[in-house]
Structure formats: C-alpha cells, structure tokens
C-alpha cells in the first residue's frame, strides 16, 4: 500500500510539473522549447528592406501562439509605408537554446482581401524571427530578417 501511495504522489508531482505555467525556465536558467507555451501579443517597428531599395517605415502588432513543443503560429496586422496588410503565420516552428536565445521560422500568408503588394506570392512567403527570452513570463525581443524589432508579452498574467 505504501508503494502505491508513493507512486501516486510521484505521478501527481510529475503531472503538476508538466502542466506548469507559461514561459517556463528550467532550473538554472536552462531554457528549451518548453519555455514558450501560450499566446503572446507582439509589436514591432523599424525599416523594412526589400533588395537594395531604401528601407520602408513599417510597424505591426500581432498575436503569436507557441505550444511548448517547437510549433508556433499566429496573425499580424501592420503598415508598410502606407500599405496596410493582414497576415497569418502558418507552418511555424521554433527552437530555443539553453541560454534562452531562439528563432522561429514560418510562412507569412496575406489575407485574400489585402493588396497584392502585401506579399510576394498569394500562398505566402517564408519569414523568420530571432529572439531572446527574459524571465518566466517576461517579454522577449525579436527581430525579423529586416531591421524590425519589438517585443512580445504573454496574454495571460
């Protein structure tokens, strides 16, 4: 009977740990894909560079959802030098190293109602972002392949 109780308590403890809150840093600040789990609101601002043309003033906000297992997705709306675009972030994946430095890759798919200039192809184009994670549940910084930068905060507290 004692073994049964001990086994049950161990199982409960393991389950409690695996269902813990968002942006979990492992002990000793060892981060992993589990460190991002949940939905985040994000903003960025900067110059978008296309080829060798001068940078275009760009700003956006969006929502990004991470599953704690290396998959992500979301949506964003922004303005690129007067052009308003709405995107879906699909087929997203991410990876985080033990120090909390990470990156994500996804496909940006423009809304069907957007101006065709919002994306190079109607089916979307590959994009990426690079980030550093702060404390548990804290905002993280990200940069896409251009000179845009910003931050994200968890939607729950």
């Amino acid at each position: 009977m004692k073994r049964t109780i001990v086994f049950s308590m161990a199982m409960v403890a393991m389950l409690a740990l695996t269902s813990a809150g968002p942006a979990n840093a492992d002990s000793g600040n060892h981060f992993s894909n589990r460190s991002l789990n949940g939905s985040f609101g994000c903003r960025n601002l900067g110059l978008l560079f296309v080829g060798t043309e001068p940078g275009l003033p760009t700003a956006s906000v969006g929502r990004q959802v991470f599953d704690g297992r290396g998959h992500m997705g979301g949506s964003a709306v922004g303005q690129i030098a007067g052009l308003v675009c709405h995107w879906s972030l699909t087929n997203g994946s991410y990876q985080i190293d033990p120090s909390g430095v990470g990156s994500a890759a996804f496909v940006l798919v423009p809304a069907a109602t957007d101006d065709p200039s919002c994306e190079s192809t109607p089916s979307g184009s590959p994009d990426s972002e690079y980030f550093v994670i702060g404390q548990e549940g804290e905002p993280f910084l990200f940069f896409d392949a251009s000179s845009l930068s910003g931050n994200c905060s968890p939607q729950d507290d």
Partner: protein, 157 residues
Amino acid sequence: MRGQRLMAGVAGALFLISAAMTGNAKADGPHFSKASLKGDYMCNMTGSADDFNTGSFTDLSFATVESYDGHGNFLGHGWQVAPPYPICTVVVGGAVQVNSDGTGLRSAGYGLCGANVGDSGTYPQAIVIERNGARYDLVGLGSGFVLSAYCIRRDSH
C-alpha cells in the same frame, strides 16, 4: 488494496484530464472583451510622419495617459514631439472593438499640435491585449503615419 489501487488510478486519470484541459486553455489563450480595458494606461507611441511621395520622414513620439471606461470608450492627453519643433500637448479619444482573442480595432481621434496640427483627425489602429488587460500594443493603420505604441495600466506595475 484493490480499492486503494483503484483510487490511485482515478486520481491519476483526473490529473491527466486536468493537465490536458490546462494545456487546451493555454493553447486557446485567455478571452478578452471591452471590459478587459479599464482604468488609466501610460502609453508611449513612436514612429514617423511620412510623405511617401517625396520620401520625407519625420520622427514622431507621443507620451499619453489614456483612460478606458470598460465599455470600449477612452479619453487621453499628453505630449507630442516631432523634432525640430517644440514639444506640445496632444489630446486623444475614441472607441475600441475587442475580439475574444485579444486582438481588436481602435478608432482614435487625435487633436495634434505644433507642426502636425493640420493632421488632426480620426485614425484607425489595430491593437492586441496582453497580461489580461494590464497592457496593450497598437499600430496605426492610417495613411501618412507609421506608428506603434505600448500602453501599461498604472496599477499593474
């Protein structure tokens, strides 16, 4: 003994279900409404006023306090600076629509000052709410300005 094993099994199953439900809730994220925005928020908006025809860009920054009534209405005031012009006072007010995932749209009427007084008017903005309403980010969607902002509720930090 048999009863104890059964209880242990039931407890384990309950925790598994609980963990699964927690995971689903996290994937969906918290739910928001107009009531999520209530109280006084400190906002910092930065970006540029742009003439895309001439390629002339001017840095533009705002620091405002915006008060929400919890029913989708807001009023605010603060400072605006657009170098090399002097800092002057700005007023803002309008209405916000909030989707359950925390994204939304804001219609913001600005009473601008200094060199931008002629640009006073109503502008559409996209928002995303974070930290259960303690913070939101926004991006301007109106032509002529590429701006993004973050706003933090006064009582949250």
